[in-house]
């Protein structure tokens, strides 16, 4: 999954429009972000990648970019 595909997935699944260069912002600096979206995002990422992803790893990621790294790193 590319970073562009990752941001497209965020837009389609949780409706949040983030530019690729905003991925490394701290999560609390991302307008419209809420931690309840994490599980939805995780489920969608699991479906897109076809494998299980650790929620605690995703939860401790400080930015969307680091979440992407968790997903991409396991590929």
């Amino acid at each position: 999954m590319t970073r562009d595909e990752f941001t497209a997935l965020i837009h389609d699944e949780i409706g949040l429009a983030v530019a690729t260069d905003e991925l490394d912002r701290e999560l609390d600096q991302v307008t419209g972000w809420d931690s309840v979206h994490l599980l939805t995002l995780l489920t969608a990422l699991e479906q897109a990648t076809g494998r299980s992803i650790s929620l605690p790893d995703v939860l401790s990621a400080p930015s969307l970019g680091r979440i992407y790294a968790v997903v991409a790193g396991g590929a």
């Binding site: 389609d12 994490l38 939805t40």
Partner: protein, 625 residues
């Protein structure tokens, strides 16, 4: 329109940023999404909840927006998306006011709280299992849970009473699901049974709060969960403190969507059912009365179950009509004589069997019943007929049935189209009254002039000061009546109750009867006094009885009453809505002069000098107390 294209179109609107500008189209597209397409509804909810309600209102100023406060124990943000999409399905716009984590006690007990300041039409206080188990010690026994739950019920009951006293808006509570992980943590069956009993007793007390307070509703989550959805999600619960599952919140949101529909006067009134393949199996024209599947055999049983459900709805005031492509005579014969039928001719307010397109029949049916076509729900097993009705009449709710009749009941009830907060006696009698009304219409056709007809009709009008026993019906008239509703101010029962108790307010109720029977409580005038002026805040009359002199009679009584009790004039207002244009001229036609009129809102005054007597054909009884 298939699900795929509706989904694709929604996604395109989202990706191109046009969900707000195309909001009415969103409603039509969502109407094509079957309830089982949970994932699409979830995503659409996420997209729509990102919109700014003001942006939607700028593009579509006529959209009805409701302020909904969301409070409770756990993290509540996950409710916003499903709620937004359910509101959008009804063309409504959600303005959510989200409370801070676990702040429901302050929210509901402090009359200066942010929640009350937002003046919400609906307050959702979401109760979840953690509300109880956060306070249960470890290790625990069933009696620990009982004690905590009972204390919480007492607390919530107090908050509900506090809310009810304020009299504004509707509070929604819910029963709390008992997670299996709690029951299963007890190893003996005896303790499990004790926990189960204590839990349900506490939930039952929550449910009974609706009997104590008119503006409190309790959603029973058991019936949502019984459809086989998870109550919670361990990861959401542990990591996000959101203790109810996405699926349960979606089911809950669907019920709230219908509640909002009802509170804004959009409840559906008519269920129009197809016959062949819907009410019975087979094709009457081909198979004959003996060949259709009605009660016997596997499929017959399924159709019987559907017929029983339709009859159950009719008994609660839903106007059931048949709209079928058939010749009328064989249909009548089956309804009258077929030994296996549960539904009979008398269960239908209208049986329409002909070969015309169904959308034309539905428009005519709505006209005959004097209701808007948007109050019709249409159920048919034919994709062709459904597609046609959906395209020609997007305001009609269409229920998808197919060739598996065992699913018919589920499909019919999947959406609570006819949900209401409380049934009145008038509701139960409504189908009979509408049937009588159609007989009146035939009677009318036998007269040369409307005046001859009215003289023969024997209209009796009783005008009386409304009492406590009339509260629900008067509120309901304000909620259901769209045409003869001069200002379209919707009132909840608590609002009407407050007016009846207010010495400066006047609530007159109207009952009518004629040679065909009693029409029940069919109208109301709501007014208040300021110095020597009596202001009519609203005038309501059921569409079943207008244009028979009832409205002139009631107005005449009110004007005389105003003069006799020292008023110098009576002021009445008209506020334009999508459906009340036929009463725009009501006041000026009846002796009022125009004070102001800006097109949308007009004010009229009667100087009480020359008060017209009630029409001669009306027999009047007055009980103004």
């Amino acid at each position: 329109m298939t699900t795929t294209t509706a989904a694709e179109q929604l996604l395109r609107l989202h990706r191109t940023g046009r969900l707000a500008s195309d909001y009415p189209l969103v409603r039509d597209l969502l109407a094509d999404v079957p309830p089982e397409s949970r994932d699409l509804l979830r995503r659409a909810g996420a997209w729509l909840s990102r919109l700014n309600p003001d942006e939607v209102l700028r593009a579509h100023p006529d959209t009805s927006a409701l302020t909904v406060a969301i409070t409770g124990h756990g993290t509540l943000a996950a409710l916003i998306a499903p709620l937004t999409v359910e509101f959008a399905r009804h063309g409504l716009l959600l303005r959510p006011v989200l409370s801070d984590f676990d702040s429901y006690v302050v929210d509901l007990s402090d009359s200066d709280s942010d929640l009350y300041s937002a003046r919400p039409e609906i307050v959702l206080c979401l109760l979840d299992p953690a509300l109880i188990f956060d306070e249960v010690p470890t290790p625990w026994r069933p009696e620990d849970v009982r004690a905590v739950f009972e204390a919480k019920v007492a607390l919530v009951a107090g908050l509900a009473a506090r809310f009810a006293e304020r009299g504004a808006g509707t509070l929604v509570l819910n029963t709390i699901p008992l997670p299996r992980t709690r029951t299963a943590a007890l190893v003996d069956h005896r303790s499990r049974a004790e926990l189960g009993a204590a839990w349900r007793e506490a939930n039952a007390r929550l449910l009974r709060l609706t009997a104590a307070h008119r503006n409190v509703v309790v959603v029973d989550t058991d019936s949502l969960l019984a459809d086989g959805i998870p109550a919670g999600d361990a990861r959401l619960s542990v990591y996000a403190k959101a203790h109810l599952s996405t699926e349960l919140l979606a089911g809950y949101a669907r019920e709230i969507g219908h509640l909002a529909r009802n509170l804004t006067g959009r409840a559906k009134k008519v269920l129009a059912v197809d016959l062949d393949g819907t009410v019975w199996g087979g094709v009457l024209g081909d198979d004959g009365p003996e060949g259709i599947e009605v009660a016997d055999g596997y499929r017959g049983e399924a159709f019987r179950a559907f017929q029983r459900t339709v009859r159950q709805l009719a008994a609660q005031g839903v106007l059931v009509a048949a709209v079928s492509k058939n010749d009328i005579e064989p249909v009548r014969t089956v309804l009258r004589e077929h030994p296996g039928m549960t539904l009979r001719e008398d269960d239908f307010v209208r049986v329409v069997a002909n070969w015309r397109p169904k959308h034309e029949n539905l428009v005519e049916l709505a006209e005959d019943l004097n209701v808007g076509v948007d109050s019709v729900v249409f159920a048919d097993d034919s994709p062709y007929e459904r597609g046609l009705v959906r395209r020609e009449l997007p305001a009609v709710a269409v229920i998808t049935l197919d060739d598996e009749p065992a699913w018919h009941v589920d499909r019919l009830l999947a959406d609570g189209w006819f949900d209401t907060v409380e049934l009145t006696a008038e509701d139960r009698d409504r189908p009979t009254k509408y049937r009588d009304e159609l007989v009146r219409k035939d009677f009318l056709n036998s007269f040369d002039s409307i005046q001859d007809y009215l003289s023969e009709l024997g209209v009796a009008v009783r005008v009386f000061a409304a009492g406590e026993q009339d509260v629900n019906r008067v509120a309901q008239l304000s909620l259901r009546t769209n045409q003869f509703n001069l200002t379209t101010r919707r009132l909840q029962p608590a609002d009407v109750q407050a007016l009846i108790r207010d010495p400066d307010a006047l609530v007159l109720a109207l009952r009518t009867a004629d040679r065909f029977g009693d029409n029940g409580l069919v109208g109301a005038i709501l007014a208040h006094r300021e110095a020597d002026v009596l202001h009519i805040d609203n005038f309501l009359l059921s569409c079943r009885v207008f244009a028979r002199g009832v409205e002139q009679t009631a107005l005449s009584v009110l004007l005389r009453h105003a003069r006799d009790t020292g008023a110098g004039s009576v002021v009445g207002a008209y506020r334009s809505s999508a459906k009340n244009s036929k009463v725009r001229e009501f006041y000026p036609r009846n002796g009022f002069s125009t004070v102001t009129d800006d097109g949308a809102e007009a004010v009229f005054r009667h100087d009480l000098v020359d008060i017209a007597a009630p029409p001669e054909h009306v027999t009047l009884t007055e009980e103004l107390g």
